[in-house]
Symmetry: C2
Subunit: 319 residues, 2 copies
């Protein structure tokens, strides 16, 4: 499939073309950049929802239920499931994903799982690129699902228009420890598995936390919803609150601001990779290897080595 | 304090100078680079231990007990406690740290807590720089303690000579989900709070996982130790296994290899920041702002914008 055919296929929402485009991105193929450059003109239409929370909070089941509901409203859905590889969460998520695959036979639902060891920055950028493919393919809603551990759920806050933080009643014990971060990223709180004990207590604690924030009438007040995704309870309410937040963003011209911020970080991330790639010429690699010997012998410090490498490559080496 | 006095103070292991040097690093002060360049010649002597594990596994108590034991052997200790800020772990760790402060009055124990929102890459580099200060200050052992969630415990594996993964009996349920990652980073497994039910079962599961690895006689076989750090149980055993791993590294010339790898990633990380810093001249910032308008209007893609920025700055713009 050449690039033109691929772009056409994606624009028509063809699953095979979408998958192909995503593979180019994931493999870091050169064509990916040309593809994304062409597709860029058709992006910026999809509504982006981030769903995050600790392992075991039932995010995938919730996502799966939400997809069903959105489908009943004829929405076209894309899902980007991001697994920051951690020894402590690891492959668990992939198992959960299988449940989500119920929707996999629906041609208007496209689900992509992404996992990566190594640079999370890179993963988060690729996830955004993959979302852009879904956006250009005409999806109405794109859901980013991620295990909320570490940097990634902070990145997702910049990636999504609305961030849903999923907790379980047992999270109550840990609530004191998550205050600041959660407050910053959550637009909607979900207490999932709310048929278990502790739901009311957790709700109360979250409310108290929210009430401690500086008063500001313009500011969005994150609702707290109880769900039991396994039994399909509370999903309609979640969907309503998502709509309400979307309207809030629209009325306050915040969607555009979020998009600007998103593209801004993307450009910076691309620039960073590109600068590095350009830097590592064979000459610089050799110089690096040569000087590393001195660094290991404590004769040159890492900072001095970098200064030396950069000076050598500045347009005017005598300056 | 001028740089010379500071370097002198650090070399003599003076707490005040060490703290001052670390603050320069954490604040990203210009002097930090000169300081680290000077100190580099005195680094590479300390033995670096990484202690990681899920929240609530008792890492800080374990670290605190280990410090006491090492002190009884006259070892000088530095601790770098790294908190990757996550909404789900957040400030909890800082509370735990207070317990560790028992040793805070001992002039031969220096503890530094580091937390950061934003770039984990940056945090991990600063943690290494801080460790280099401790190394140059003559500490015999440097302990990196980090909450094992996400990228950070993978970074720590590159930072430490020996990595201790701390689990609790309850981790058994999750063991299937953490296999690959854990196997890769752990040199020593600790089952802490082993007075609770499930210790033997977890031990068995870990053993099975370890036995599944490809057979290789040269390869280090991570021991599995049961501890109850709160009651001081098993700390001597941990210390013995740490020594045994250190000897293994020495006999197989792996300490030097680890140091090379560590310095290699450090140079790359410094280079990356430096290239970016040099790139964002006022001219480039203006060009960026100007062209971003077109990107937001879908007339230019992020990848095209980067290509344009880089071309403009290449030594030969006509090429």
């Amino acid at each position: 499939m050449n690039l033109e055919a691929l772009t056409q296929g994606i624009s028509h929402g063809e699953g095979k073309a979408i998958a192909r485009g995503m593979s180019l991105i994931e493999n870091g193929a050169d064509e990916a950049q040309s593809l994304l450059a062409t597709l860029h003109a058709s992006t910026g239409r999809a509504y982006r929802i981030g769903i995050t929370g600790p392992p075991g909070s039932g995010k995938s089941t919730l996502t799966s239920r939400l997809i069903k509901l959105l489908r009943s409203h004829e929405k076209k859905i894309g899902v980007v499931a991001v697994d920051p590889t951690s020894p402590f969460t690891g492959g668990a998520v992939l198992g959960d994903r299988i449940r989500m695959m119920e929707s996999a036979t629906d041609p208007e639902v496209f689900i992509r799982s992404m996992a990566s060891r190594g640079s999370l920055g890179g993963l988060s950028r690729k996830a955004q690129d993959v979302a852009d493919v879904l956006d250009a393919a005409g999806k109405d809603v794109i859901i980013f699902e991620t295990v909320g551990v570490g940097q990634t759920e902070l990145d997702i806050a910049d990636t999504a228009d609305t961030v849903v933080v999923v907790l379980v009643p047992e999270s109550g014990d840990a609530i004191q420890t998550m205050k600041a971060g959660l407050m910053e990223i959550a637009d909607v709180f979900v207490i999932n598995k709310s048929d278990r004990e502790g739901t009311e207590k957790l709700k109360l604690e979250l409310e108290q936390m929210l009430n401690l924030r500086p008063k500001n009438e313009q500011r969005w007040m994150p609702p707290i919803i109880s769900t039991a995704a396994q039994h399909g309870v509370g999903i309609d309410l979640l969907s309503e609150e998502l709509n309400r937040h979307k309207e809030y963003l629209e009325q306050n011209h915040l969607l555009e601001a979020k998009r600007r911020k998103r593209i801004n970080s993307k450009v910076r991330s691309i620039l960073q990779s590109q600068l590095l790639e350009n830097f590592w010429t064979e000459e610089n690699r050799n110089l690096f290897d040569e000087k590393m010997v001195q660094v290991l012998e404590n004769k040159l410090s890492p900072y001095e080595l970098v200064a030396l490498l950069i000076k050598k490559n500045s347009p005017n080496p005598l300056s």
